[in-house]
Symmetry: C2
Subunit: 468 residues, 2 copies
Amino acid sequence: MEQLHELLQQVIPDGERVLTEKADLASYSYDASFGVYMPEVVVQPLSTCEVAEILKLANKHKIPVYPRGQGTSLSGGPLPVRGGIVMDLSQWTSKLEIDTENMLAVVSPGVTAQAINNAALVHGLIYPPDPSSMNIATIGGNLAENSGGPKGLKYGVTKDYVIGLEVVTPEGEVIHTGGKTMKNVTGYDLTKLIVGSEGTLGIITEAILRLYPKPQATETLMALFDDIIDAGRAISNILSAGIIPAKLEIMDKASVEAVEAYRPTGLPTNIDALILIELDGHPEAIKDEIKRVNDVCLQEKARSVQIAKTAEEAAQLWLARKLVSPAIVRVKPTKISEDATVPRSKIPDMFQRLKEIKQKYNIDLVVFGHAGDGNLHPNIIADERDTEEMKRVEQAVEEIFQAAIELGGTLSGEHGIGTLKAPFMEMELGAVGVDMMKRIKQAWDPNDILNPGKIFPEPNQRFVLTND
Amino acid sequence: MEQLHELLQQVIPDGERVLTEKADLASYSYDASFGVYMPEVVVQPLSTCEVAEILKLANKHKIPVYPRGQGTSLSGGPLPVRGGIVMDLSQWTSKLEIDTENMLAVVSPGVTAQAINNAALVHGLIYPPDPSSMNIATIGGNLAENSGGPKGLKYGVTKDYVIGLEVVTPEGEVIHTGGKTMKNVTGYDLTKLIVGSEGTLGIITEAILRLYPKPQATETLMALFDDIIDAGRAISNILSAGIIPAKLEIMDKASVEAVEAYRPTGLPTNIDALILIELDGHPEAIKDEIKRVNDVCLQEKARSVQIAKTAEEAAQLWLARKLVSPAIVRVKPTKISEDATVPRSKIPDMFQRLKEIKQKYNIDLVVFGHAGDGNLHPNIIADERDTEEMKRVEQAVEEIFQAAIELGGTLSGEHGIGTLKAPFMEMELGAVGVDMMKRIKQAWDPNDILNPGKIFPEPNQRFVLTND
């Protein structure tokens, strides 16, 4: 260990950016998912050259390297499951350039999506992707995981905004993919391959991101339903009416109750579900759309539809949605946040399946999320000290994945595979599908240096949610 | 050859779909670019199983397979440069399903983008990508090349609409990538890797495509300029005013003159350039935008701005743009259609560089294209029987690529690399960048069966435009 530390200090002479104290290592041993794994050493590079040298060193000595942002991953992306080096890129915040002429941002890996959006707003532009961790999480992490967010419905996810990358390959070579042009078909699309590859194919050291003109106006609506199945149908009908809201979120009864118990926002707790809708664009267009959304919801038996009259009222409605996650962990300490995603038309079926799973395994299941794009967040709350309960939870989660896939959906809409969902890869992709992905990993990273133990299941790997 | 023919007939018992007559082979020996290469045999599969069997056979006997749609490629994508089997997928038109609930189309590889859009329109939906060959070219070809089109500015290119594929791998295995969900981060994004890989990584046998609600209204404007540099600035200012037109096309003086000589549409030939703009969306939003576009153009010294009063008038303006390609080949028989693309802000610089190149090499250069996204189409017209002229053209094209890359641009915005631009790959990507792409090809296609001789340059391959 001493030796590795010394080697890294040759690359990064600034001693403060090579960490070996046990307390430091411990704070890099976990993320927002499950499992604790101690690294041997943590490095905090601040340049492409440093990243390249570290990877060359790691290849020479066959030491795994685990890239990491702020550790908000819900799937185990940055966990150093085989020890070795954690490469903390969160300190590399030096670049955040707004290119107004081309409507682009050029950023280093440590800046947050919120910082990018704030810098864009100064020029009347926005960076639309809005993962709920956007205040904390690094863009490097967003890129590695291809993060989504409520605005994904209208604006797409992180990948849709990336047109160029500087990447250090697993062997420590520097490549540039794409560039500042809107269109590029020169060879394979390495940009979109690397974004979402969960740090297994390269370290992103710089990204070129598209920005978008700020919409002229924004309005928020809330519709209350006595039956969540009706809410599902309303969502489907809004979209097939040709209206594409900026956001279209759902909260079930349990989410509403949890929020009201945690910090009352005045929501009625005697409903079965509510949907929150944000419309943006030209003021006249929104006026029309509000009317149509209102009609569709009432047709699908909404108890009522409320239109926020002021920006404050709108903010208050969205606050309730934001509070779901902190609120539900008050009920029980362990939260298993899933993101199994189904085709839009299968949302009512998925609600039905979730209801059955909840009863079958007697679990505390809360459902909310990005209903407009079929990306629900079934959250199970439990207590990880209760081994018997956790076993039921593991079975329930497995059945949620099964249900999503049977309905034509996917294991993960926006959280990634990481360590957590690796055992289920073949369930969705089949052995050949997984093999074709593995071939890319092997061709790019022959020594299996970069984030090993992620995405691809280890032989006989089982799904476990307990930390031991 | 007889033997190969017999082997293929075991896979496809229907004799009429295995072609060996010289006249048939000849019609598969060329595309819309340069070069003539005879295949040994042509097959026309109509099922995934047939495609898989053919590829297994080809691997066993080490015979190259060249997938092909309607042969409209401008970069040599389907040319059978090493003989072997041409796999004609244009006859496979059996599937064109519109899933209105999920706003998706599910299609077999032989249908056209126009047919998809027509089928969508019945349900008030559109399939936005609009390559100029959309009436003829197959969606399989569009997917292989990641085709663009005028609407790319607002709506993106083919890749932005693909969320799921059925693919036969180079070794003849069937995989499914993505699916019917809007979001999917389960493992590497093979969908976006395969789309645009020019038929070198797999044969697409089915695709799931996103559709979009038909915009409520559409308006067309034309602005005339006495200096193309002013036109470039107007384009830039329209976009930075936060207006994103559906299309924003430019025609230079030479294009206008060619069209008016070919089939007069009433355009003034004493201008230096014109821009054509289509705005779509909510009628009130468009009304505002028309006013703002008009103001920006006049500020940038437009001679006049004309707003089409009727749909017929709009169609007449777009007809002029469509006529450019057929019109310019009336001047000289050989057309070299380029698609070098630059960042939006570099459009005026690119105009300047093209002007200099035109003079330096004394070539007939016509410039038009998708100015809004920096994807110009500098077209050189020449006579390929004139060897001396063709040498100057080759040098000029090389310098156009050089200029695009120096301005931060790319070799190809939407036509692909194929055979034609392979010699320039390292100029844009560097040796390591090309190597990382090649590793994927080698890992997926160890016998180099699928469309060999494309994208990656052969040792010492030079750029040539003559057919011998």
